[in-house]
């Protein structure tokens, strides 16, 4: 009985958390138009979430692309169609790996930074001070950071895919000797606009999810050193699971 009771209670707690997150997200979306009236704040956050994540995104993109080049070459060699390497790498990166890996890296780099920044602002009374100055912290602090993440994510994913394709080309063409003309021309003829749209839709959705989770966890963090630490961990875990789940659902819908 106590086990059943415990399960029911934890289920209720989880539901309450979902409810709180939904309400917070709605409030966030409601104040976004007003936050957009001050583009300078949003641009600052695109810089913080996007530009400062560029190095890790580009490095990871290069290595993921190079691995894709190696694995793809080995696989395609067995079917005697190594010239399709460009197509395989481009489709894999644009539709799947680009948005997903970018979102996972974003959660680890920018998401944690957002959560800990907002959590520490709360722990040092900065958010309460804003409330006391009649400034809504959700509008002034959370919304620009959320929008910054939503804008930065597709840009980062595009850069990731671009560098990834270059990495695959580096390994496939330069190292393994795949014909460069075949590599690029097959890619150009096989990749369609809808492949690119799929990637963009996914990365925008991931941007919404990762930024909303990061901002929510920071805003609701217990205002202590331990509380902020736990909230930061939750941001990474929840964002990663959310990205993979949303990825499956979007793939099922968009295919």
């Amino acid at each position: 009985m106590s086990l059943v009771g415990g399960l029911a209670e934890s289920g209720r707690a989880q539901l309450r958390k979902w409810g709180r997150f939904t309400l917070f997200s709605l409030r966030l979306l409601a104040v976004c138009p007003r936050a957009l009236l001050r583009p300078r704040l949003v641009v600052e956050q695109v810089h913080n979430s996007g530009a400062l994540s560029l190095v890790i995104i580009m490095l990871s993109g290069l290595f993921v692309g190079m691995v894709l080049g190696l694995q793809g070459y080995d696989l395609l060699r067995r079917f005697g169609s190594t010239e399709s390497l460009g197509t395989a790498a481009a489709l894999g990166l644009l539709r799947e790996l680009g948005p997903v890996v970018t979102a996972l890296l974003f959660a680890g780099r920018a998401g944690t930074a957002l959560t800990s920044e907002i959590g520490l602002m709360s722990a040092t009374d900065q958010l309460s001070a804003m409330e006391m100055m009649a400034v809504d912290p959700v509008r002034r602090v959370c919304a620009p950071r959320f929008l910054g993440g939503v804008i930065a994510m597709p840009l980062l994913a595009a850069i990731f895919s671009m560098i990834g394709i270059y990495g695959a080309q580096l390994v496939g063409v330069t190292l393994m000797g795949v014909d460069a003309g075949q590599f690029w021309s097959q890619m150009r003829s096989a990749v369609e606009l809808r492949d690119i749209v799929e990637g963009v839709v996914k990365s925008v959705a991931f941007g919404f999810a990762c930024s909303a989770i990061a901002v929510y966890e920071g805003y609701h963090a217990v205002p202590t050193a331990e509380g902020v630490g736990r909230a930061t961990t939750r941001t990474v875990v929840t964002s990663s699971v959310a990205v993979l789940a949303i990825d499956y659902m979007l793939t099922a819908v968009l295919l």
Binding site: T124, A129, E131, V135
Partner: protein
């Protein structure tokens, strides 16, 4: 406003904030039960009491950060129980609050911190913003520190900047949460002088939460002493100093033991020691 367990004076005609019969509890534990306080306009009112008696909770009630579970809280003519978020924000524009550590925005420098409320609430030309900010910084003696970041300030300086920020919108009520905690004697003297001068020069009403008996004695016009969730004494600091009630005397004289016990409630000492010995 004569409350059975309230030792406070009758509400004066010129009260800018009144708490009547207020109850507030967290997780089933009552922090306040039938608390009544009147804050007089134009005066420096001190809220004193041992740690954990709900002084900060009282401030959060007055500023509308939390809502009373019973009774009414009226601030500058507005009933906080009936205000929505917009109404509360409109009221807060007439209030300023100084947090214990200053609560300056760490990503902005001193100048931008003071300018923050102005920029958020008014669309003024930069030249005017600059004049307002410099005047407030001059008032707290930190015009020269305008371009320092909060991390570069001492505790006393951070509080002075926070004071400049709190008065930049010319509030009617200024609230201080433990303004003296952790200050050296010079900084303490400066902050005390600033609270008094700000109150009198700008015609404000000040509410100061503190447990520093000596400082409050020199600063406040009226003092309330809270203990156990209710007002146990009220009056001028001089009246409190000669109050003979045991709890008041213990607090004013800083005695370690008395009606407020030194020991946190615990099982019998000897029994617990013997039990521990038996288990080992």
């Amino acid at each position: 406003m004569n409350d059975s367990n309230d030792a406070g004076p009758p509400a004066p005609a010129e009260a800018i904030a009144t708490l009547a019969d207020v109850g507030y509890s967290v997780g089933g534990r009552a922090i306040f039960d039938r608390l009544s306080i009147a804050i007089e306009r134009g005066k420096v009112t001190a809220i004193m009491g041992p740690s954990g008696t709900g002084k900060t909770t009282l401030l959060r009630l007055i500023t509308g950060q939390i809502r009373a579970s019973r009774g009414t809280v009226i601030v500058d003519g507005e009933d906080l129980g009936t205000l929505d978020r917009d109404g509360l924000y409109r009221l807060r524009r007439r209030m300023g609050m100084l947090f214990q550590n200053g609560a300056l925005l760490t990503d902005l420098d001193v100048y931008e911190n003071v300018a923050f409320p102005v920029r958020e609430h008014a669309d003024l030309p930069e030249a005017l913003v600059s004049r307002i900010v410099l005047m407030k910084l001059q008032a707290v003696g930190l015009r020269g520190a305008a371009r320092l970041m909060p991390a570069e300030l001492s505790g006393g300086m951070a509080r002075r900047v926070a004071l400049a920020r709190a008065i930049v919108m010319d509030p009617k009520i200024l609230i201080y949460d433990e303004p003296f905690a952790g200050l050296d004697p010079i900084a303490l003297g400066v902050v005390m002088r600033l609270i008094r001068e700000t109150n009198d020069a700008l015609g404000l009403t000040s509410i100061v939460v503190s447990h520093d008996v000596h400082e409050i004695g020199k600063l406040a016009d009226v003092a309330y002493l809270l203990s156990g969730g209710r007002v146990i004494a009220a009056g001028t600091p001089a009246e409190l100093a000669v109050n003979q009630a045991p709890v008041v005397r213990q607090f004013m004289a800083g005695e370690a033991d008395g009606p407020v016990p030194f020991h946190y409630p615990a099982p019998d000492y000897v029994t617990q020691l013997l039990d521990a010995g038996d288990r080992a």
